[in-house]
Symmetry: C2
Subunit: 255 residues, 2 copies
């Protein structure tokens, strides 16, 4: 079966308090797309964060001594660094231009996912406004999923994604930060291969594969297509969580 | 525009010397699929390696002293480790059960991509047979692309993928190991975002996003769908190379 990723056209700019489920429903109906039971909605983190009012003016932030110290090393704004630290558990790496942390929610990323770009503001200094990740993106996904299932009267998965850099490789890829109603990792341990041997590859990062696929369609340059309908996800849907994707610190060779 | 990933049905078991371009052409015509100019063929590394006769019996391998040493630390077969070392530039990490290296072709992966599973053999000890990555997967992609373009009389991209583990996250994802006729990394530096700011995210690992998408459709459990036709890749095709994806060692914070 084919996998198809279709952008929902006409998603408007999102503002704090907007009901994403209702907006997605309305734009899907208007565009005559017909979701099927078991389809997965892939949603850009930015519009989730905006709907949850995770926009902050860094002028309101007072940096700690540690933030000043890291700002010196990374050549970043100490107020921005302070926000990154508040959103993080641990700093993994710092060098001029780069600050890699463990986000409060457990995953590793640059700047705790805080971003300037595509933050609209009518203020005088628009560069002062930044966007934090959702407080708990699994919960955000649950909430949007419940809305969509209720409106469409059918079961779905919901996946919230961001663009992450990676160790060893150039280029960002779409990566899961929250999900509901789909497996994050699919466990194939013990399944036989084509010739009856046990498979060596045992756990598939299925949600991250879907995140990367949807990211291609969203378009990085202007994020004008922040909602993607994915049909043909090949694994059985079930309750899932970001926790499945996060490697235990003791098992991780690259911290 | 939607992105669609369609498996080519009926690809047979591949043997050394098989002409992948011809086989893909024949099976595509038989299944009444109609590729369009600019579509991308995503091909599992395993069938490329098999067609290139990269199958080796580890009974023929004499391990070096260094291979014995690493085999002790990783609890792997010293002959297998010897093969990994021959295919690698550097060992990054070793612990019981894990051997992470820089492959000769520059990318970081476990076991230099050498694998037991899905290696068919009529021999007495089938577990002795392993499969190496293609010698130069960019060249393999070029070769298959030339064949397919000649048979279908239209331009294509070709992407060869494997499943790689990652730092920090559980689960493997489909990852590029060779390509021809598509950008590996798309450079968006300096492009404006929705509100006219410069984008922070500047380089997209587009080939790896496509690799992950296609991997979902191939299915890990039996690799019975090793060829995927991708329509709707959103970036302009051009000559490309794996080198684009490999982060310079000096820039890499996680070696």
């Amino acid at each position: 079966m084919a996998l198809t990723l279709t952008p929902i056209p006409g998603i408007p700019l999102i503002y704090p308090g907007d009901d994403l489920g209702e907006i997605i429903y309305k734009k899907t109906i208007e565009s005559h797309l017909e979701p099927k039971p078991g389809d997965i909605w892939v949603i850009a983190q930015k519009i989730v964060s905006k709907s949850e009012n995770r926009i902050i003016n860094i002028q309101t932030i007072v940096p700690s001594a540690r933030a000043f110290e890291i700002a010196n090393k990374t050549l970043k704004d100490p107020r921005f660094v302070e926000l990154v630290l508040r959103e993080s558990k641990t700093v993994l790496r710092q060098k001029p231009g780069a600050l890699i942390v463990e986000h409060k929610n457990g995953f590793i990323c640059a700047n705790a996912g805080i971003d300037h770009s595509n933050v609209e503001s009518s203020q005088e200094n628009p560069e002062d406004w930044v966007l934090l990740l959702p407080e708990d993106a699994d919960k955000s996904a649950q909430y949007i999923r419940a809305k969509l299932e209720n409106l469409f009267k059918m079961p779905f998965g919901v996946l919230i994604i961001d663009s992450h850099g990676r160790a060893w490789r150039n280029g960002t890829v779409g990566t899961s930060i929250g999900l509901s109603g789909l497996p994050a990792v699919v466990d194939l341990r013990g399944k036989p291969d084509l010739f009856g041997f046990k498979l060596k590859i045992t756990q598939v990062g299925a949600a991250d594969e879907l995140a990367a696929a949807a990211s291609l369609v969203m378009g990085q340059a202007d994020e004008s297509q922040p909602v993607i309908l994915a049909s043909g996800f090949p694994y059985q849907l079930r309750e899932g969580s970001m926790k499945e994707l996060i490697r235990d610190e003791k098992e991780d060779l690259f911290r």
